[in-house]
Symmetry: C2
Subunit: 356 residues, 2 copies
């Protein structure tokens, strides 16, 4: 049976990435060696690393004065390396849920944290508006897409202090005006690579704002000056990232990824609004994530949860269960998800309605 991969992360990758990975693991560029056993100081890997940096810069149209680095490990590490480097006295955060709170928690180890606004009052089902960002902070940090709660910020705001964004789960799903940010970070395992690498885009001038001595591996200046090669980088995930970026470019770039994300999410949200059994957890369409569509059975049908999960499984839908911390359902629709899978989801929602 064909599987439809709605996993929230690690998540679906393009077939192109999978196929090129297999080829390179068998033999990289006819070298007689596997991608898994080459030196990170080899010319073959130089081309991969340089290629991944260049593709990122092309895809996001990154202006001069920014560096792109690929770091081992997950985005959660950035939650503390950012304040370790840049939080001297006070930082501002927007509380939009689990991953935003991840950053807020670590920042408190290094200085004062001002939470400018929170949507906790309604289970993080909206993006807070109408708050002021203080001007006496070292930076202001947000999480653009809230994987667990299903909300998303898709505008590149004008912020008068250094602006930092966690784009782990929506990177490459829309054009981004990178010039508005001092630092963007993105764990790979949602939209562009298998788990094990985090991409950081950093304004070079921001590197001068480091406020205290930091250990070498936590020091962005080191990784920038060494082109992500201070230590052995995660070779394979970076290769896979490059292949996904090639696929995005061949497919029409991030503008096309945005169009596909709109098409996918509009189709699913429309069905959720029409279907008498289900309801999206996020009311305001402007706040709804295109990447992670969270939804519930209406309260009167709540006892059918297992029945729907069983049907979804029977129809080949993988990863539909909501995050264990919030329950309900979640359909993650990342860049590589084909419309065929969206249609399978909509058909399953309709089948469930008919049969109950």
């Amino acid at each position: 049976m064909k599987k439809h991969n709605f996993n929230a992360g690690p998540a679906i990758l393009p077939d192109y990435t999978i196929e090129k990975s297999i080829e390179a693991i068998k033999d990289l560029n006819g070298s007689g060696l596997s991608l898994l056993t080459i030196s990170h100081r080899s010319k073959d890997f130089d081309a991969i690393m340089d290629g991944a940096v260049a593709a990122t810069k092309r895809l996001l149209d990154i202006p001069e004065g920014y560096s792109v680095i690929f770091l081992g490990g997950g985005a959660s590490t950035q939650f503390y390396t950012i304040p370790y480097n840049f939080l001297g006295t006070k930082a501002a955060y927007l509380d939009t849920g689990t991953w935003a709170l991840g950053g807020i928690k670590e920042a408190k180890l290094y200085g004062e944290v001002e939470v400018v606004a929170s949507s906790k009052d309604k289970n993080y089902s909206y993006i807070p508006k109408g708050y002021k960002i203080p001007t006496d902070v070292d930076y202001f940090e947000i999480c653009c897409n809230n994987t667990i709660e299903g909300t998303e910020i898709r505008e590149d705001w004008d912020v008068s202090v250094p602006f930092i964004a966690d784009m782990s789960s929506d990177i490459f799903s829309r054009p981004v005006d990178v010039s508005k940010y001092s630092l963007i970070f993105a764990g790979a395992q949602k939209n562009f690579a298998p788990a094990g690498v985090t991409m950081v885009i950093i304004k070079d001038a921001f590197l001068e704002k480091v406020v205290r001595p930091v250990p070498t591996m936590a020091d962005y200046r080191v990784h920038v000056s060494k082109n992500s090669m201070f230590n052995t980088p995660p070779v394979f995930p970076i290769f896979a990232a490059l292949k996904t970026m090639e696929w995005i470019e061949m497919s029409g770039g991030v503008k096309e990824m945005e169009k596909r994300a709109i098409d996918r999410s509009e189709k699913v949200y429309a069905e959720l609004e029409r279907n008498k059994f289900f309801v999206p957890t996020v009311e305001d369409p402007a706040d709804r994530s295109r990447m992670n569509i969270t939804f519930l059975l209406k309260p009167e049908y709540a006892e059918l949860e297992t029945a729907f999960l069983d049907l979804a499984k029977a129809r080949g839908l993988v990863g539909i269960k909501g995050h264990r911390s919030v329950g309900g359902f979640r359909a993650s629709c990342y860049n590589a998800l084909p419309m065929e899978s969206v249609d399978a989801l909509v058909a399953t929602l309709q089948e469930f309605e008919k049969s109950n």
Copy 2:
């Protein structure tokens, strides 16, 4: 042409690991999904993680009271997370070269560092002896195998303070008496997996010795309590690690790996001592690494360096050039290196002698 992979890391892996990786990337266990796109919260991945932990415990005969965790990123991160967690006032280090110094440098950010001995006076070409380990330190840390300088410590010492060892480049190459250590760490890309994961074996009682608040991702207690699943772990490198451990077990375990390492290294060192052109950089056989055999042309033949590298390349020997910081040559002979490759190296050394 058949390639002989003497890379220092990332390095050769068993064909078994490569083949199983390709199979799983195509389709994991008949799931219809690639290993690269499964959730780390899936049953399939639980089996991989649990399997890797269990295999580590079996292979190294780890006693009760120790935990095994797999962390994203490289071993260099441990250089600072160890003192961040455990260096309250003073720590002792043995200076055996580049990687030992990596730990020493970061420790100084967190407290006083006493370097108990150093072999810097002779370019780190021996393991220092006859020093005292202070008893008033939070821990004593060593790097067992010095990849760049070609020395190795193969005994599990009795140390009266918590004993920490970096076994990044010789893990699984010999039986280890884990009970002597409070913490062992090993980056994967030498002896057991592609780059992107670091294994940590930690004595549970040592976790109680954390001296200051540490960020969540740097907190060993968190990773132990969450079974390495606090955040998304590097799924693919952990899978590959498991496969290599399976291969080690099928091959006869770490005792057999030790036998092979002795056989390989004795053959190469014997040829280096016999050959009139070359000399091992480490004089004392007891201090010579079995993993990284470093050697030089004798001073009178020094101008032949490029000629030898050219011949090595022509004979399919990959990665023979010494580390850029020390020059000369290096043959890294990790667990997966077949004797056939050692024979090819010896034949090339002999061919070079005859033709010059």
